[in-house]
């Protein structure tokens, strides 16, 4: 729970970075007639008075964020308890009555080899997806962008977006029909005298399978942001580059990619903050097919121990560790973005 707030609050910060110009634009209207100088020079009180209408308008959103993102964080108290949700019908009463165990849950986690397996699997999957998955939407966006005929472009975009709307259950069933031990591919191989191939239950290649499924399902959807960024590149830049004798590749290298850079950097930072979240439903559905040794990631570890074994305190402790590490990662990635001269998730 806590981990998801990290990227989200980051995204919120990213929105805010867009706001100042809007805010100061709106600020010229209000009644107080404050001088519209650079806002940094104004006192806090003045700024507050000037922006009060806007601030008022953020209140509902703020309340929602508090209620759904910050209040639940208090539930992490159970990480320090031997929490028994069944002693009362009310979760808060249960929390008050469950015995405190201090850091015992954390101690157990760090001694639990299954937890470290989950950490390893999570990181391996993250890096694999970073290398094999992350660049694909960019390439697809460039490809689509180079298509001139609007009809072809619309059709191919639709085809690329479509798999995103399939549920994981369906995606995995389709993969099973095609690549399972008794699937189409295996039977075809057998009929031609080769051995069958059971891709779906091989723990060794599971990480590639997971990545392939993600690419098939969501890479098309991921191009939307890049297409938007591409459409904002002024055409006169291309024309100027062409005038200077730049060919297709040079134009892409010197005009298109620099235009995409801030978006790529932002998404990369967000992705790193989300590194420990590598797909819950998709993995849970296939967990038993390859065994937890190859498939357990932090999210399924938390789920298995908390929801399935009702060891809530232990699971909460694991979730908390994950949240803290994720926060560290997003801050580190942001730092790197700043060093590279990009904005990252917030402006320095």
């Amino acid at each position: 729970m806590s981990h998801s707030t990290v990227p989200r609050s980051g995204a919120g910060a990213a929105d805010e970075k867009d706001k100042p110009p809007v805010a100061s634009g709106g600020a010229t209207g209000p009644d107080d007639g404050a001088p519209s100088g650079p806002s940094g020079k104004l006192g806090l009180r003045l700024r507050f008075r000037r922006d009060r209408v806007l601030l008022l308008m953020t209140l509902p959103a703020l309340a929602l964020v508090l209620l759904f993102n910050y209040v639940p964080i208090l539930g992490n108290i159970v990480a320090f308890q031997d929490y028994d949700p069944y002693i009362s019908d009310n979760g808060i009463v249960s929390m008050l009555h469950s015995p405190w165990v201090g850091l015992e849950n954390f101690q157990r986690i760090f001694e639990d080899s299954a937890f470290w397996d989950a950490v390893t699997n999570t990181l391996v999957l993250f890096f694999l997806q970073l290398v094999l998955y992350f660049p694909i939407p960019i390439l697809l966006a460039l490809l689509i962008n180079s298509v001139v005929r609007p009809r072809v472009r619309a059709v191919s975009q639709a085809i690329l977006y479509l798999p995103h709307f399939f549920s994981w259950v369906l995606v995995i069933a389709v993969f099973q029909q095609l690549f399972g031990g008794a699937g189409i591919l295996s039977q075809l191989l057998r009929q031609h005298g080769y051995d069958g191939l059971d891709i779906m239950t091989d723990p060794e290649t599971f990480k590639y399978l997971i990545t392939a499924q993600s690419v098939w399902k969501d890479a098309g959807w991921g191009i939307i942001v890049f297409l938007a960024a591409l459409s904002s590149v002024p055409t006169d830049l291309y024309e100027a580059a062409a005038m200077d004798g730049a060919g297709r590749w040079r134009r892409m290298w010197h005009v298109t990619l620099p235009a995409l850079r801030p978006v790529i950097a932002l998404l990369l930072v967000l992705r790193v903050g989300d590194a420990l979240t590598v797909g819950f439903e998709q993995i849970l559905l296939q967990r038993d097919s390859v065994g937890p040794g190859a498939s357990e990631v932090l999210d399924t570890f938390v789920w298995w121990n908390g929801v399935r074994n009702q060891d809530f305190g232990y699971a909460a402790a694991a979730g908390l560790v994950k949240g803290v590490v994720s926060l560290g990662l997003v801050l580190a990635a942001n730092k790197v973005a700043h060093l590279m001269g990009e904005q990252g998730v917030y402006k320095k």
Binding site: P85, Y86, G181, A182, T201, Q310
Partner: protein, 567 residues
């Protein structure tokens, strides 16, 4: 958690239709012989959360038994089997066991595991049953294969349905503690003579009620079952006969036969995962419930995981997988498991093991479009061909509980439902519960009820999950299957022994609740070649040092207080 015979009844497809109830039930006669607990004296505190309740404490809260035999069984119960009915049912002379509607018209929500595809909420079967009972039952059906994954979360919420059905094999982790704190004591309505208000509940065998005592109070409405194994290796008799395959009688013969059958190129494999059968043929103690996993050997309690047989059974099953004699679907996990029915019918595999009820359901669903199709139950054997030892499972394995917060009238409505669903064979209520509405769900052909397509869709699970009569096997449309089932049970029953904690409902202290939670996963990992037998030996020694040995002492104390149930 632990693998088990009973979780097979949760198998991957529907232990459905009337036979579900029939097959998992216990015989009245068997009960008369086996009430070891009541003769034992002492017993732990009736109010405590862990331990068990027996002896005088149990006697005080158990309902009075009043037999009701509407129709005399053609095959009486023997060796722990069900009772069997094979002669023609007089459809015109069905008795009425519930003369007036006991329901008060209230609404009752029920969460229950469901194996198969649930029908629409307002189907004719649910409407018909609700009219008959006088209660508006609203079903919240959940996938039975992954039920335990939802149960814990639902019970932890403040929104628990009026009735929750919990199979014994799902009582892992803190679920037993949740049962004790979240569900109502039905004692005031059922203990002693109070049960006579509900004659069909009074006819439920006492040892099934004994198993319904949780935390010293009568909380469950039981589904009585035969205590012999419910896991039958089912095979395609028609194809066996055609190809001249012989039914194996040793573990090696099974392996050799599996090799002969398998031809992957022609899309045919020998079997699915045979782990549950391996437990039986290697004489491994049952994993159905925590208490059953222990047995007194030479004065010392041992757990099934510590036995040589356990490792041998895993190894034999592993070899079937390693030699690629198992259909690839069986390698997939629970979450992606599919109904074995269609591929079994297509001959993609010829043997699989599951709840005995599937013997009937496979027969019934193929009868119309596939007249050659014949499924039969393979007799269980000892792995080495010698005299086998099978272990008894408990005489009731699935319970319906009522929410503690339910009002008195809701409890009475639930009991009204149970009184109808527990009606014995030969009554109108049994017919309605197990066959649905005449004309809609079944038609009479020469006086024999035959299910329609809608009957096969609608009349599945649901009502049979709330209390059942003494275990009954009766299929008026396929009497030879009923006979085969009871005879199979009696053959197995002849070699079935009871382990030390047979029949007791035991709640372990919660500090050890998850001690063995990962063993089922480990078994499956080894069987599918992802882990080694050595990993299991390591896990068992970890289990001992992390609390297994203390747990052994804890069980020893129960044994000292209550006496052994072993036979």
């Amino acid at each position: 958690m632990t693998p088990n015979a009973a979780s097979a009844s949760t198998g991957s497809s529907g232990p459905s239709r009337r036979s579900f109830l029939a097959s998992t039930a216990v015989a009245t006669a068997a009960v008369a012989g086996g009430m070891p607990l009541l003769s034992a004296c002492g017993g732990s505190d009736s109010g405590s959360r862990d331990g068990t309740t027996s002896g005088k404490d149990a006697k005080k809260i158990l309902p009075t038994y009043v037999a009701s035999n509407v129709v005399t069984p053609d095959i009486p119960a023997r060796n722990g089997s069900s009772i069997g009915f094979t002669s023609e049912l007089d459809m015109a002379g069905l008795k009425t066991s519930v003369p007036k509607k006991l329901g008060k018209g209230g609404k009752v929500t029920v969460m229950s595991p469901f194996w198969g595809s649930p029908p629409k909420a307002d189907n004719a079967y649910y409407t018909g049953m609700n009219d008959l009972i006088g209660v508006d039952v609203v079903w919240q059906n959940q996938d039975g294969n992954t039920y335990e994954q939802k149960l814990g979360a639902v019970l932890a919420s403040s929104d628990v349905p009026d009735v929750v059905v919990v199979p014994g094999w799902n009582m892992n982790g803190r679920i037993p503690s949740a049962i004790i704190s979240k569900f109502a004591d039905l004692g005031p309505h059922l203990s002693g003579d109070a049960v006579k208000e509900y004659p069909n509940l009074a006819a439920i065998p006492t040892d099934a009620w004994q198993r319904s005592i949780f935390g010293g109070k009568l909380r469950g409405l039981p589904m009585p079952s035969a205590y012999v194994s419910n896991i039958v290796p089912l095979y395609r008799k028609d194809i066996f006969d055609k190809e001249g395959y012989e039914v194996p009688t040793t573990a090696d013969e099974f392996h050799a036969l599996a090799k002969e059958i398998t031809n992957a190129k022609a899309k045919r494999w020998a079997c699915l995962d045979m782990k549950w059968t391996a437990w039986n043929i290697f004489g491994v103690l049952p994993g159905d419930e925590k208490g059953l996993m222990w047995n007194l050997v030479d004065g010392k309690l041992i757990n099934r995981m510590e036995t040589q047989e356990y490792l041998e059974a895993i190894e034999w099953t592993r070899k079937l997988f390693a030699d690629e004699l198992v259909h690839p679907d069986a390698k997939l996990g629970k979450s992606s498991a599919t109904d074995p029915g269609p591929k079994f019918a297509a001959g993609e595999f010829l043997i699989y093991n599951n709840d005995i009820s599937q013997w009937y359901s496979r027969t019934a669903e193929q009868a119309a479009q596939n007249p050659d199709f014949e499924v039969w139950g393979m007799d269980l054997f000892a792995h080495d061909g010698g005299t086998p030892t099978f272990w008894a499972k408990n005489p009731a394995g699935i319970f319906a509980f009522v929410n503690k917060k339910a009002s008195k009238s809701v409890i009475q409505d639930v009991l009204a439902v149970a009184n109808v669903t527990a009606a014995p064979y030969g009554t109108k209520e049994y017919m309605m519960t197990n066959y649905g509405v005449e004309g809609t769900h079944y038609t009479l052909k020469d006086g024999v009820p035959v299910k329609t397509d809608q009957g096969n869709l609608d009349v599945l699970n649901a009502y049979v999950m709330i209390a059942s009569p003494a275990s009954t096997l009766a299929h008026p449309d396929f009497p030879e299957v009923a006979r085969g089932q009871v005879e199979w049970q009696q053959k197995v029953g002849a070699h079935t022994k009871k382990s030390s904690f047979y029949g007791m409902q035991i709640t372990e202290p919660s500090r050890w609740a998850n001690l063995s939670s990962d063993f089922e996963q480990l078994e499956d990992d080894i069987i599918r070649g992802r882990k080694k037998i050595g990993d299991m030996q390591q896990a068992v020694s970890d289990w001992k040092s992390k609390g297994g040995d203390q747990l052994r002492d804890w069980y020893q104390k129960i044994l000292d207080e209550n006496g052994s149930a072993a036979s």
